[in-house]
Structures are given as C-alpha cells and as structure tokens.
C-alpha cells in the first residue's frame, strides 16, 4: 500500500485479512483502560497499545512518542468517533500511513470471514464463518442447491448472501445448544428463508417459539439426501448440547470441545451438575467416534487456534494428544479445573440466554451492546 499522507478508513474485513495474513501493524487503541483490558484486537505481528483518547485532548505527543517509525498505524475506539479524532491529529502532526477502524470495535465484533473447510463427497462443500472479533464460528453446509447453517450468529444477511452466491437455498438452521455468549441468528434466519429451525429439546424447556427437535438417532438431509447430518447427544456445556457429524467426516462440536480448550459447564448456573456429563462426553462418548473425524468447534478463544487462512479445525485424534482439557486423568482434578477459577462470564450472558429463548426482544442496538467483548465459553479463556 502506498504511503498515505491523509487519514484513511480501514474496514473490519480489511483488518481481518491483515490479521490472518500475519501482517505487521501498530494499533493504537484509544478506548478507556478497562474496556481495553477486557477485550482487544490481537494479531501475531501486531503491536497493540492503549492510550485513552481523553488523555490526548491537549495533543497527541504522548501517543506519537510510542509509534515506531515507518509502521502502518491503525487507531481504534468503541464506535469510530474518538479514533478519527485522534487519528486526524496524528496526521496533522506529520504521521504517515494512519488509518482508523471504520465502525470501531462494534464493527470488529460483527465481521464474519467465510473460510472453506473442504469438499464433501457427492459434490457438497462445508464453510466456516469466522467471527474473528468475538471468536464465534458458524458453519454452512451446501449440497445440490440446498444449505444448512449451524450455530448462525445474528448477522443473518451474511449467510443469506453467501447462500445466494453459491446458488443454494437455506433449508435448515441448527443450533447445537442454547448459546450464552452471543445472540443466535438461527431462528431469525429460518424465519427469513422459510427454513426449518432445529434446537436440542433439553435446552429448549423455556423457549417461547416452535422448533424442530434436534435429537440423536435422526438425520437431517440436504441436497437430495446426499449429505447426512447426524446429531450426537453430548451434554456438558449445557444439558442439551448436541454435536453433529456431517457425512462421516466432520464433527461439529458446538461448545463442548475447542482446539485448545474445552467447554465450561457453568453458564446456565449448573456447573456442579454438569461436570459429570462433560467428562462423560469428552472422555467416553467422543472416544467411541472415529478418530479421523475433523473437529469443528463453535468458538475459538486464542489466535493460536486459527490455522491456515483463518480455518479453525483439527483431527479428533490430534486433539486427544494436544488439548489440555482432554488430558486430565484424575476425575477430581478435572472437576476442579472446570468449576474453579473459571474466566469471567461473557458480557450480559443471562440476557443473551433470555433473548435466545425468545423471552426478551431487545432492539438491534441493545443486542450489539449485549454482545460486546470476547465469547469466553472455554475453561481456559481469560
């Protein structure tokens, strides 16, 4: 990119590609200290510092002193206003290559990056949608002009556009469990497209809407039954948590098993009750499955969980070797790890659960506020 002497916007999508491409950049985050410490942009070769904009009202020298020569600078705030305010002053002070994040952390939280996971036999494909700012992962399985979307987030237009581009009609939307960290887009997407919305009945006791029961023993077919989606009951993160096996090759683990961690059992207030289920699922039920399955989780917590092109996946057998949550022999110790010293709970997680049950209907702006921050669904998140 040419050296810019004027201030330029950078979209969340452009930033995502810089993060995934492991590009170098200097990020000046001008939000207040507590928001910054709670949640920030990370990149392998990105240096990120925090100087609140309100410390720069009398001039930006304090920030300028910390910007390394010759590096691209991105100024970030919550919504955009303060980052522009600071970035404009940096440009006036002679700093070159200065950008601000368009729409701020809010846009960062909402951006979805589609990544192709692989082809299915009989001509289908499976895609992962990486919500890089928040760590949510959704999936779309496409075959023979039909599509199923799993663990959709609330930015449903992204899925609709993607399906349209691939000439597919969304016929099923599936939630592996009742989510506590983000607002599900599953039901909305089903309403908009005429698709069937699936949810595990054990997580749906209090829901206010009709749904199809996602249960073991039943298969969901798309594209003239060439693609089989088999539900596997796998409680522990929630009592209803259900994994999906797609075409005997991919295991969509929901929030039970991640790449470098495992699901936390406490977000519905039942940590003690569900520890046994979690152990049973991870240490016996999953072990009975083919070890060649490719695990595809509904979240990531750390940048190191992203592979080539942003893809988050691993062979089940590899996870049994490397994932610390799958290698705790002692049951008492396991119980301690998953119930004690857990990371803080996700922002507004109780209101988010209520929303996903249909009990409250917050306006879009409120939904944004509720989802601010990282997902924190794994026991090893911080």
């Amino acid at each position: 990119m040419a050296t810019a002497t004027r201030l330029s916007p950078m979209t969340a999508g452009e930033l995502t590609r810089l993060v995934l491409g492991q590009e170098e950049m200097f990020i000046l985050d001008v939000r207040n200290e507590s928001d910054f410490n709670d949640w920030k942009i990370e990149g392998k070769r990105m240096e990120v510092i925090n100087v609140p904009y309100f410390d720069l009202l009398d001039g930006v020298d304090a920030a300028l002193d910390r910007i390394p020569d010759g590096k691209k600078v991105l100024v970030v705030c919550a919504k955009e206003g303060s980052s522009k305010f600071v970035a404009e002053q940096l440009v006036q002070a002679g700093q070159t290559n200065v950008f601000y994040l368009e729409g701020g952390m809010r846009s960062w939280s909402e951006h979805l990056e589609p990544v192709k996971i692989g082809d299915l036999h009989d001509g289908g494909s499976i895609y992962q949608f990486v919500r890089i700012g928040k760590g949510c992962l959704s999936y779309m399985i496409i075959s023979g002009g039909e599509a199923a979307v799993v663990d959709a987030v609330r930015m449903t237009n992204v899925f609709e556009d993607f399906a349209k581009q691939h000439g597919a009609q969304i016929v099923h939307t599936i939630d592996t469990h009742l989510h506590a960290d983000h607002i599900s887009g599953g039901r909305k997407l089903a309403d908009e497209t005429g698709a069937n919305y699936w949810l595990p009945p054990k997580d749906a006791h209090d829901v206010t809407f009709d749904y199809s029961k996602l249960e073991s023993g039943q298969t969901i077919a798309i594209g003239n039954t060439t693609i089989q989606i088999q539900p596997v009951y796998s409680p522990g993160h929630t009592i209803g948590s259900t994994s999906l096996i797609v075409n005997d090759r991919y295991l969509l683990t929901g929030d039970i098993l991640f790449i470098e961690s495992i699901g936390r059992p406490d977000l519905a207030g039942k940590a003690e009750d569900w520890v046994g289920d979690l152990r049973e699922t991870l240490y016996s039920r999953y072990k009975e499955l083919s070890e060649d399955l490719i695990a595809l989780p509904a979240h990531f917590g750390k940048l190191s969980e992203l592979g080539a092109g942003g893809k988050v996946s691993a062979r089940l057998s590899d996870l049994y070797g490397s994932n610390p949550g799958l290698n705790i022999e002692d049951e008492t110790k396991f119980r301690r790890v998953v119930t004690e010293k857990l990371p803080p709970q996700p922002n507004a997680y109780q209101e988010i659960r209520q929303t996903n049950m249909g009990k409250i209907q917050p306006a879009e702006e409120e939904q944004r506020e509720m989802e601010i921050g990282p997902n924190r669904c794994a026991v090893h998140d911080r």
């Binding site: 207040n32 200290e33 507590s34 928001d35 609140p52 904009y53 309100f54 410390d55 009202l57 705030c77 919550a78 919504k79 206003g81 303060s82 305010f85 506020e369």
Partner: protein, 192 residues
C-alpha cells in the same frame, strides 16, 4: 428518595457521541473554579466509563452518576492545585478510625461535612450534617460553639480550613478528621 443534586454548571451533551461529551466537559471545566461541581448530561452509554477514566487521570473528582431514563447525569468536582499540597495548620486532629470508634460507642458528637452537597449526596457518614465550606461562615448559627464537633471533607484539607474558621469564631471542641471520607471505612449513607 430523590433530592436535587446541586451543581454550579449543567452541561448538555445529550445526543453526542464519543469523544464529544468528554471534549465538552473538559472545555467547561477549564472555565470553572476549583471546588465547583458540574453536571454532565449525556445519552452515550460509553460516557460513563470514559468520564471516570478521564477524572482519574486528570485528578478531578468523579462524584457519581444518576440514570434518568435514557439520560446519564455525571457529577464531577473540579480539583484545585493546592488540594494536593500539605498545608495543614489546625493542630487538633483525629483519624477516621478514632471517629468510627467514637460513633460506634455512641458518644455524643456532631459530624460536620463541609464538602459540596453533590459529594454529600453520593456518600456520607451516617448522621453527618452538611454545610459546604463556602457557606460555613454564614451558617455558623446552625452549630453550637460548645458542642464536640468533628469536621470532615474528602481528604482533610477543606475540613482543616473549616476547623481554623470555627476556632477563630470561638468554637471550643473542634477536631479535624484527617484523611476524610477517602479514608473512611465505616458505614456510609447515600441519597442516590
């Protein structure tokens, strides 16, 4: 309970997005006198954490925030450069612990709080009487010169000045509570 909080200045930042509420607050504060209180009305929810952060970093005193519907009312008190200086002259002092013990024991004493009403509204020692330092001279008749009086402010500086004033006016049993409310660990009352 709802009582009006007094402020020397009210600033309307409703409908403004960040950074404007803080930019305007800073400009307004620059025009104010030390010790004065400003009420900042904002609708941007992010203004709460930001105004607290700004106050902490500038040394101005963040008093509290009241939410009325969509509107957040933030209260801040402008600090003065000499508030941080150690210039205590009034010799008779007690610690916050000593005062707490005394109140716990039920000893009869008047706790006089000389901070601004807005500070008093957000946090005070139960039973304390409020007369801001600036009004003290005109309201001496509300106090008895023979009484045992403990004077308190935020950090012990304004109360020091108040003690000197009271001693000059013939009050006999006046004590300055050093470290003030900021060092108080006992029970508190609040209006909001």
């Amino acid at each position: 309970m709802s009582t009006q909080i007094q402020a020397n200045k009210t600033l309307d930042c409703k409908g403004l997005a960040c950074p404007m509420p803080i930019v305007k607050t800073k400009k307004a504060m620059d025009q104010m006198h030390p010790g004065e209180v400003i009420e900042v009305q904002a609708t941007d929810k992010g203004s709460l954490a930001d105004i607290q952060g700004w106050a902490k970093n500038t040394g101005h005193q963040y008093l509290g925030t009241i939410t009325e519907g969509e509107v957040l009312k933030h209260y801040l008190r402008k600090s003065s450069p000499d508030e941080t200086k150690e210039e205590k002259k009034y010799p008779i002092t007690v610690t916050t612990d000593e005062l707490e013990q005394k109140l716990k024991a039920g000893d009869k004493t008047t706790v006089l709080d000389v901070r601004e009403p807005a500070e008093y509204a957000f946090q005070r020692i139960p039973g304390a009487k409020s007369i801001p330092l600036s009004e003290l001279e005109n309201r001496l008749h509300e106090l008895n010169p023979e009484d045992d009086i403990h004077v308190v402010c935020r950090t012990g500086n304004r109360s020091d000045m108040a003690c000197q004033l009271l001693a000059d006016k013939g009050f006999k049993n006046v004590k300055n509570v050093v470290s003030g409310i900021s060092g108080w660990t006992g029970p508190v009352d609040r209006t909001h």
